[in-house]
């Protein structure tokens, strides 16, 4: 089995998520039926999207394993490969290598807990996968709270689904934008500020936080204030990756490889690592 060989797949649908056009969600379907059936991933894992002639990029899987038959990836246009991906059309071939990484422990440590999902900007992707998975197995989890913010209303991801989740009564959803905006009647304020206002209880709690390092840095104090411990907080780290299987050496943060030992770590584990991410 060659771990560098991607599954052959095809782009099935493309949705432009944000008003500036820089974020698109790609629906990808594996060509081979057996591979499609066999695919199973844990929310929080990622896959390498391979564009022959351009390269590979590690992208978090935005769809839950319960959404069978296809995979969703929300990709930001940043470098060579993502720019090429953004120029592709429905029907174009693409490779998928995965699932890679460790994912959130949804079937073990997180079961039975009160879940707080906190996300900023376009880091919400793998948390969408996690949230949908948890909603499909609702009885396995306690209270679920979602705090998600973006710079402007146009930069929010999954806008239709956000509305559906807000309407549900089995979860608490707080959507915020950084500044006032015309037509926006929701919360206004940075994610850490809203977290400070919501004050989620740490009792039997687990917090899943994804976002730019600066957002995580400022979100911790309001949580710590109400008693959250580092072992209850789960973070998803990012780093430059190439092989995705812990060999090529690019993604190491001290002794751990973000692609293989991570990308999900508890804050307690992260505190023991050198700050190289």
């Amino acid at each position: 089995m060659n771990p560098y060989l991607p599954y052959q797949a095809v782009i099935d649908d493309i949705v432009v998520e944000t008003e500036d056009g820089n974020l698109k969600t790609f629906r990808i379907v594996l060509e081979n039926e057996r591979e499609r059936e066999k695919w199973n991933h844990t929310p929080g894992q990622f896959a390498m999207l391979s564009i022959a002639g351009k390269g590979e990029i590690p992208i978090g899987i935005a769809s839950s394993p319960t959404e069978k038959g296809h995979l969703l990836f929300t990709v930001n246009r940043a470098g060579v490969v993502t720019t090429a991906l953004h120029k592709m059309n429905v029907g174009d071939p693409i490779g998928v290598r995965g699932p890679l990484g460790n994912g959130f422990p949804v079937d073990s440590k997180l079961k039975g807990k009160n879940i707080v999902i906190i996300a900023g900007g376009f880091a919400f992707t793998t948390l969408r996968a996690t949230l949908i998975y948890m909603l499909e197995h609702r009885e396995d989890y306690g209270k679920i709270t979602v705090i998600y913010g973006a710079r402007t209303p146009g930069m929010l991801l999954y806008k239709e689904e956000l509305k559906e989740w807000e309407a549900r009564d089995d979860l608490d959803v707080y959507i915020t934008v950084d500044r006032e905006a015309p037509g926006w009647n929701g919360l206004v304020g940075f994610v850490p500020t809203i977290a400070g206002q919501v004050k989620p209880s740490p009792e039997n709690g687990a917090a899943l936080i994804c976002g730019p390092p600066i957002m995580i840095k400022f979100t911790m104090p309001p949580l710590e204030e109400v008693g959250w411990k580092d072992s209850q907080v789960y973070l998803s780290l990012e780093n430059r990756m190439k092989c995705g299987i812990g060999i090529c050496g690019h993604c190491n943060v001290g002794p751990v490889y973000v692609c293989n030992d991570g990308p999900v770590f508890t804050r307690e584990e992260v505190q023991r690592l050198p700050v190289e991410f």
Binding site: M1, N2, P3, Y4, L5, P6, Q8, S50, I51, A52, G53, K54, G55, E56, A78, G79, T82, P93, G95, E238, N239, R240, K242, C243, I245, G246, I247, C248, G249, H250, N252, V253, G254, P255, R272, P274, V275, E276, F277
Partner: protein, 341 residues
């Protein structure tokens, strides 16, 4: 296993015989003066200097560029942009005269590369005939780091250079098979057995007993990481890739796609953690943009993270980095400092 000898005068015949089945490589003087791996045959014999070759043997297990996949790069072709594994090149390689440090590096590299089919295939397709060292040179330090000048780890056959012959001791089944089926080897004489024994005893007398790996494993990671001496170590570094590319146990690589006239290939080639681009994110953020972080990371990886994960230290003491670092950053000094912290 049954040992053999080959007369030095008949070394050419032996290489010739081996060349029928293998692509034979061995150390020889290059026209730039230093000794490095060259293709051998009955006329081109190995030349041994007292010390290691300029580059290590990792180029045989980990060539650069290594083609991972091939694909057609024109959109109108029937299976365009589908990655296919390259046609296997079935040539088997024989390396003649590998020092114990280099042979050991193959075993060490196999640990992180356990699931890498390309590397593993080359390991199984390559025969290593090692040459034990009578003494080290001024820059090597294998005894310090878990190796030994008479170490046989990673070899298929271990050779000892005596006065008139090479004493050949098979270490693996593969090695035994080869020696039994090739001319012009013969059984050793009594005095040759004795000479080989004497060689090994003399070398053993020089061995050290330090267990550097377990001392390093026992140190606390952040204590080593936050030590103050890294500033002075990293100050002269010019961030080239000399240490990483000459090192037998540095194994980081980069993967790139290249296309030319409708044909494409996904290749991997050696990358160096000394280059600032190594950890550069597409967003512009660089976790190890600082020279000190990069230098520290390399030593911490080889001397702490790797032994913590796999056991032995990721260094075989060959001394190439010591000899060729343009600014004389000496891993022996770093190691000494880390052991004393």
């Amino acid at each position: 296993m049954k040992p053999f000898v080959v007369e030095k005068a008949q070394l050419g015949d032996l290489i010739d015989a081996l060349s029928k089945e293998y692509e034979v490589f061995g150390p020889a003087q290059t026209d730039k003066g230093y000794y490095d791996w060259q293709r051998l045959d009955g006329d081109r014999l190995p030349e041994f200097n007292n010390g290691v070759t300029k580059s290590s043997i990792k180029t045989f297990f980990f060539p650069q560029p290594e083609v991972l996949f091939e694909f057609k790069a024109r959109a109108n072709e029937p299976d365009a942009f589908r990655l296919k594994e390259p046609q296997c090149d079935s040539a088997t390689t024989l390396l003649f005269g590998v020092r114990p440090c280099d042979a050991r590096s193959v075993t060490l590299n196999s640990m992180p590369y356990a699931n890498d089919p390309y590397f593993q295939k080359r390991v199984s397709d390559t025969v290593i005939i090692g040459l034990l060292c009578s003494e080290g040179c001024s820059t090597c330090f294998c005894k310090w780091i878990g190796g030994s000048p008479t170490g046989k780890e990673g070899m298929d056959v271990a050779a000892i250079e005596l006065d008139d012959v090479f004493f050949l001791e098979p270490i693996s089944e593969k090695g035994q098979q080869i020696l039994e089926n090739v001319a012009p080897v013969r059984s050793p004489l009594e005095k040759e057995h004795e000479a080989a024994e004497h060689f090994l005893e003399k070398a053993k007398a020089q061995e050290g007993t330090q267990d550097t790996a377990s001392t390093l494993r026992s140190k606390e990671l952040m204590h080593l990481y936050e030590a103050g001496f890294w500033k002075q170590v990293s100050e002269p570094c010019i961030n080239c890739g000399t240490c990483t590319f000459l090192c037998p146990t540095c194994y980081c690589f980069d993967i790139q796609d290249e296309t030319l006239r409708g044909k494409g290939r996904r290749i991997r080639y050696w990358d160096s953690c000394m280059f600032p681009l190594f950890t550069q994110h597409a967003s512009g953020h660089n976790p190890r943009g600082d020279k000190l972080k990069r230098v520290r990371n390399r030593f911490m990886h080889k001397l702490k993270y790797f032994p913590d994960r796999f056991g032995p230290v990721s260094c075989v003491g060959c001394g190439r980095c010591v000899r060729d670092c343009p600014v004389n950053i000496d891993i022996r000094q770093v190691l000494r400092t880390m052991l004393e912290l």
